[in-house]
Symmetry: none
């Protein structure tokens, strides 16, 4: 099977960053295209096929956030990763709420960046999940049709809200889920602000799911942004099946 190369579009006004990403990605077998402004990027997405987009939030012209929204309208399933600066927490949240798949904070390690791209692409290519198939991540298994959760085969009793929170997080495993989205999913859109609710329930969930609730391996916190169910646990991945990165 000769798979066609994975194509990544880089939208960033700084040539230095584009170059760094381009060379590394190319070395790893990705094909890349570049745009220095949002409009340009949109035009490319209209005329070509991409497997993922890396998009800088802060750009001249129509800016990253607007570009994101328009990209999303153009290509509902295309993985889009936003590049944000360290402390621009609001940007991260806004991007995720507007449909970005993930965010990467500058300065970033190329290695992490590539890993995130890969994981976003993998998720996008995973065929639609039939509604009733169990979601299995590590020792945790959640079966939507049954509304049942087990850890290493042992059933875990969850209350309604606990289950609904876990369900959404596991549906989006590997991605940061904003407080707002979680709250809208479980309580309704007008509860977007009630982060305290989440804290209480995440705590209960960790008690029930984690071996050491104080050092969670599954239910991770994305400070200032939300929570994230870990995508894959190194502990469970046989080491060595990924080529070393520079």
């Amino acid at each position: 099977m000769n798979a066609p190369p994975t194509r990544v579009l880089l939208i960033d006004d700084e040539p230095a960053i584009r170059r760094a990403l381009r060379t590394t990605l190319n070395e790893l077998g990705f094909e890349t295209a570049e745009a220095s402004r949002g409009e340009e990027g949109l035009q490319l997405v209209r005329t070509q096929n991409f497997d993922a987009v890396l998009l800088d939030v802060k750009m001249p012209g129509i800016g990253g956030m607007k570009t994101l929204v328009r990209l999303r309208a153009l290509a509902p399933r295309l993985p889009i990763l936003m590049l944000t600066v360290q402390d621009a927490e609001d940007d991260k949240v806004e991007a995720l709420e507007a449909g970005a798949d993930d965010y990467i904070t500058k300065p970033f390690s190329i290695r992490e960046c590539v890993a995130r791209i890969r994981s976003a692409i993998r998720r996008a290519q995973t065929p639609e999940r039939p509604e009733n198939t169990p979601i299995v991540i590590g020792e945790i298994e959640l079966t939507p049709g049954k509304r049942a959760v087990t850890k290493s085969g042992e059933p875990i009793h969850l209350t309604r809200k606990e289950y609904e929170i876990l369900h959404y997080l596991m549906l989006h495993a590997g991605r940061a889920v904003t407080y707002g989205k979680l709250l809208a999913w479980v309580w309704g859109a007008e509860f977007r602000q009630e982060v305290e609710y989440l804290r209480t329930f995440i705590r209960q969930l960790r008690k029930k799911i984690e071996d050491d609730p104080a050092n969670p391996r599954y239910l991770l916190t994305d400070a200032y942004v939300g929570y994230r169910f870990t995508e894959c646990l190194e502990a469970f991945m046989p080491a060595g099946d990924e080529e070393p990165l520079p």
Copy 2:
């Protein structure tokens, strides 16, 4: 082997609600289209194919109810879900009588909304499946064709409603069945709130089926969710041989 995406049409004049639904639905693999008025929605249904429609009752222009009637005339089998406000009981009944498949009261959690959409689509796509093979779980055996139930071979007399409740629960053994679904199945969609009915009948069923009705082994409660017929009874399985069930 990628199934075509499920297409949902959102008709609501509030952009915020459309946006919240759109992003979540898209993330879950649905395709969405939007209309801010009834006329617009009708035009879209004329020209495109959808698997379900979410329709706000209260809208400017021709309004939700009229839109519903016309939609129904256009597409007799298309699942249509109405968004209504909490206490507008009349709206709900009117909507169901006018051919809506379900209604969702605002404020609603996105989770609930998605679940309802899925279930409406499934209903529309699943042709009636008259199953005549007996369902056997533990000591309990239910034969749909004969409408008969036995426990350890001994016939148990059940009234009509008792039987219908048990039948539905056993059909979905191992899964939590929500009050709403159970009530809709036995009494009809407009009785979805009458949880008290269920309590009374579950009590009767437990009296007839359970050895110790106060500590049920078959008819379990999922607090705040519904009831569940246990799928396997450890007590009856001789320990040691773990044969996976089909």
